[in-house]
């Protein structure tokens, strides 16, 4: 019985890790939206392309944070 609960808990932790990585959906949508808007902005103002690119990459790196939290939670569930 003790063995069963141990394995059950481990399997549930792995399922939880799988669910936690679903946070990747949010940053994916956000980064894609930012990139699309940046393409629109470059199309409107091609001379400002370099500064638009810098701002876009900084914003995307910020938007990535929530996805990384999910990744950290998944790694903690698997290894700890």
């Amino acid at each position: 019985m003790a063995e069963f609960t141990e394995f059950f808990a481990q399997g549930m932790a792995f399922i939880g890790a799988g669910i936690a990585v679903f946070t990747g959906i949010g940053p994916g949508l956000g980064q894609g939206y930012a990139a699309g808007k940046a393409v629109e902005a470059i199309g409107r103002q091609p001379e400002a392309a370099s500064s638009i690119r810098t701002v876009m990459i900084t914003g995307q790196a910020l938007a990535e944070t929530t996805g990384l939290y999910g990744l950290i939670v998944a790694i903690i569930l698997i290894f700890a």
Partner: protein, 229 residues
């Protein structure tokens, strides 16, 4: 704690060997940066105003000038002289630390202790800067800004943003390290080609430098929000 320091003074090499690989890489990078920046600084100091810097000195002068201009024009117009040396050294350390896997070291920020250490650095520097430049009474008024009821919310905000900054660095570097481990562990020689052309350029150079820039940018913005009016 005490045993660690007695051990450190009696047997420094043994302490160094016992550290984790990220800590070792952090110490190596810090030593390298201390020595090289001291040499470059002495070289710049010896120059007369009519000399034209070249080589690595030129790079260093351009880099420092770029950060100084950014501080002066955009973020810290009145206090840039106090903060830009500190911010430049943070940016330099992060740039070297995040690309450390190219030199055969473990990326130091993939160790959570170092990442949370960076959170502590950000928290401490923002608080000390705010207390030193705005005196404690004005600082307290800023924290209780719209209404004194908002004080706990503002305090949580002061703590959670540096924590998030450290965790962001940790997550990025750790994901790169794990993908590298998977690739090199599961494939044979073909993994080296993928690693050389996809993995290291993307995860070490691009993401590493972008995250170094983002940490530096966020630290600048939080310091300027706490310090400037």
């Amino acid at each position: 704690m005490m045993e660690f320091f007695t051990e450190l003074f009696t047997n420094p090499i043994g302490v160094y060997v016992g550290l984790s690989s990220g800590m070792k890489a952090s110490l190596i990078i810090t030593t390298f940066l201390i020595i090289s920046t001291t040499i470059i600084g002495l070289r710049v100091k010896r120059m007369s105003t009519s000399d034209v810097p070249h080589g690595i000195t030129f790079l260093a002068v351009t880099f420092v000038g770029m950060v100084n201009d950014m501080m002066k024009n955009d973020f810290l117009p009145t206090h840039w002289r106090k903060f830009s040396p500190y911010l430049v050294s943070i940016l330099l350390f992060l740039m070297f630390a995040n690309t450390a896997s190219l030199f055969g070291l473990t990326a130091p920020l993939s160790n959570i202790n170092i990442a949370l250490g960076f959170s502590l650095i950000a928290f401490g520097s923002v608080q000390v800067a705010a207390l030193y430049i705005k005196k404690p009474i004005q600082r307290f008024k800023d924290l209780a800004d719209p209404h004194p009821l908002f004080l706990p919310v503002n305090l949580i905000g002061e703590m959670s943003t540096p924590f998030a900054m450290g965790l962001r660095l940790f997550g990025n570097l750790l994901s790169g390290a794990i993908i590298g481990l998977i690739l090199y562990g599961l494939t044979s020689w073909i993994g080296i080609i993928f690693g050389a052309f996809l993995l290291h350029p993307i995860f070490d150079i691009f993401f590493g430098l972008v995250q170094a820039y983002v940490y530096f940018m966020l630290l600048t913005i939080f310091i300027s929000m706490a310090v400037e009016d």
